[in-house]
């Protein structure tokens, strides 16, 4: 059983994507994911109008 709740998530996503996360890599992967999720929360908690277009919108 994973030691950290995030480890369960890492194991599940790794399996879904066909990625290998060796035990020696896990602390660094977890640390990087924690940073990304913390920064992602900053983006997530900012309220935007529903009509906001993503910057990646394509112009034909």
């Amino acid at each position: 059983m994973a030691a950290d709740p995030l480890d369960d998530y890492i194991d599940s996503v790794a399996m879904a994507l066909g990625l290998t996360v060796e035990e020696g890599w896990r602390p660094a992967v977890r640390a990087n994911l924690e940073v990304s999720l913390r920064l992602g929360r900053m983006v997530d908690e900012f309220t935007l109008p529903d009509e906001t277009e993503p910057a990646s919108v394509y112009s034909a």
């Binding site: 996503v13 940073v35 920064l39 906001t52 993503p54």
Partner: protein, 473 residues
């Protein structure tokens, strides 16, 4: 002719600017072959310390130089960069070389069949490619360190970082090996090495310069641009590389807008402001000193606040880590052991970021762009730190910013990321502090590279900024 004395000068062209080289070659005072041989000699001598080159294309360069001399002898115009040696970050395709992009894995690729578009345009202008340059693996780096090729080293202190990810580009120009180099900037990878190595760097507007036949990192944020030892050389290279290109989906269809002839216009009438709030936090004293120095020289006293800059940096981080992971997903599955472990572990984590956060980051990008563009209704230029500190020691893993210990590799670009996130043009200008130089960002509105370059040139003319001669080799 030289703008900077060079202690290691042995050939007439050592230390010459690109513009002076082009004038001397066109006037047949020096030959392109002489210039090229001198550049190759400098690389041979100094790169044993700097480790900035991964490939030296000596025979190709000699052949190109002979062509230029022959053209001039025949009375033809050889171009505004006639005989100017230059080199490129090794993510640019160079015909005949595998485009390694700082990686071990890409060395297995077949040799590139054609040069990158920007190399072709530089050579059309008369420049001479002399090689490919070291970089952080797959451009996911701010240090200039590379586990496969060794670190490129800082020309002012080889025990320090060159900066990344275009570390070899910064090191080669800062060390006086070549007057111009090309690099890429996704989150700061031109501006950070420019700052650490004490040179000028231009990150143009997103979409200004073609990325065709360069190895990508984050398509939403990737830019290419030049490094040089003077603002004029930066403008000459930039002018030579402009133009639409259907081979890059993001490349503008705007006409070429040359800048070199505008530099002498000066900066009268331009309104300059200092970036406040976020950009005054997380800096060491030397970065504060450099910004204050440039602001004083420009007579800038007003402060503007880029709204939600910390969140912009966070959104850039999310887009970077996820798009980068997507690019390398198959290699992460098949050859994870062949990555730099630090890069691999960041990419694997990036693959695990929920997609909804990426979509929200792209929507926030749209919002943030609109708010920042409003600022440019009342100011022409915004001044901000390029890096929070001078070049750290090689191998230094963390530094302390505002009392918090943070990883160097991920945080050197905290002041560059909110700017490239919305593609604003920036010239990084070098403030030659002792013992190490540091850069300042001169930021303009989209498509106004001319303004940023005019300000850089004016600062140089007034003696406020300069590329110091290499102090460490």
């Amino acid at each position: 002719m030289s703008t900077q004395p060079d202690a290691g000068k042995t050939a007439p062209s050592d230390g010459m600017s690109a513009s002076d080289i082009a004038l001397a070659v066109a006037a047949r005072k020096l030959s392109a072959v002489e210039i090229t041989e001198a550049a190759l000699a400098r690389i041979n001598k100094r790169d044993t310390v700097l480790n900035s080159f991964t490939d030296v294309t000596a025979e190709r360069a000699r052949a190109r130089a002979r062509e230029i001399d022959a053209a001039i002898a025949a009375g033809k115009h050889a171009g505004p960069l006639a005989g100017v040696p230059f080199a490129v970050k090794n993510l640019f395709d160079v015909k005949g070389l595998s485009t390694r992009a700082g990686s071990k894995i890409n060395r297995d690729l077949p040799p590139a069949p054609r040069d990158a578009m920007l190399i072709e345009r530089m050579e059309t202008a008369g420049a001479v490619l002399v090689g490919a340059l070291n970089m952080g693996e797959y451009a996911y780096d701010f240090t200039g360190e590379n586990v496969h090729d060794g670190p490129s080293r800082n020309p002012h202190d080889p025990t320090r970082m060159s900066g990344g990810s275009s570390g070899g580009s910064g090191s080669a120009v800062g060390g006086g090996l070549v007057p111009i180099a090309l690099g890429s900037d996704t989150n700061g990878s031109i501006r950070v090495p420019s700052s650490f190595c004490g040179i000028f760097g231009l990150k143009p507007t997103y979409g200004r310069l073609s990325r065709a036949r360069s190895y990508p990192f984050v398509a939403s944020l990737d830019h290419l641009g030049p490094f040089a030892r003077t603002a004029r050389d930066l403008a000459l290279a930039y002018d030579a590389m402009q133009g639409p290109d259907p081979d890059d989906a993001a490349c503008t269809t705007r006409p070429v807008e040359p800048v070199a002839d505008l530099l002498a216009q000066g900066i009268g009438g331009l309104k300059v402001a200092i970036a406040g709030d976020y950009f005054r936090k997380n800096v060491f004293p030397e970065a504060q000193e450099a910004v204050a120095h440039v602001a004083k020289a420009l007579g800038a006293t007003e402060t503007v606040v880029l709204p939600e800059a910390a969140r912009a940096r966070a959104a850039a981080y999310i887009i970077t880590t996820t798009e980068g992971a997507s690019l390398h997903l198959d290699r992460l599955r098949k050859r994870p052991q062949d990555f730099d472990p630090a890069v691999r572990d960041r990419f694997i984590a990036g693959a695990m970021v929920p997609a909804v956060l990426v979509d929200r980051a792209q929507k926030f990008r749209r919002w943030y762009r609109a708010r920042v563009l409003e600022l440019f209704r009342s100011v022409d230029v915004i001044v901000a730190p390029a890096t929070p500190c001078v070049a750290p020691k090689l191998g230094q893993a963390t530094f302390t910013l505002d009392g918090v210990e943070l990883p160097v590799r991920a945080n050197v670009g905290i002041h560059t990321q909110p700017i490239s996130f919305i593609g604003l043009p920036v010239v990084a200008v070098p403030v030659p502090l002792q013992p190490m130089p540091i850069g300042v960002q001169i930021i303009a509105a989209p498509w106004r590279e001319d303004i940023a370059l005019r300000v850089a040139h004016a600062l140089e003319k007034m003696g406020a900024v300069a590329a110091p001669s290499p102090r460490g080799i």
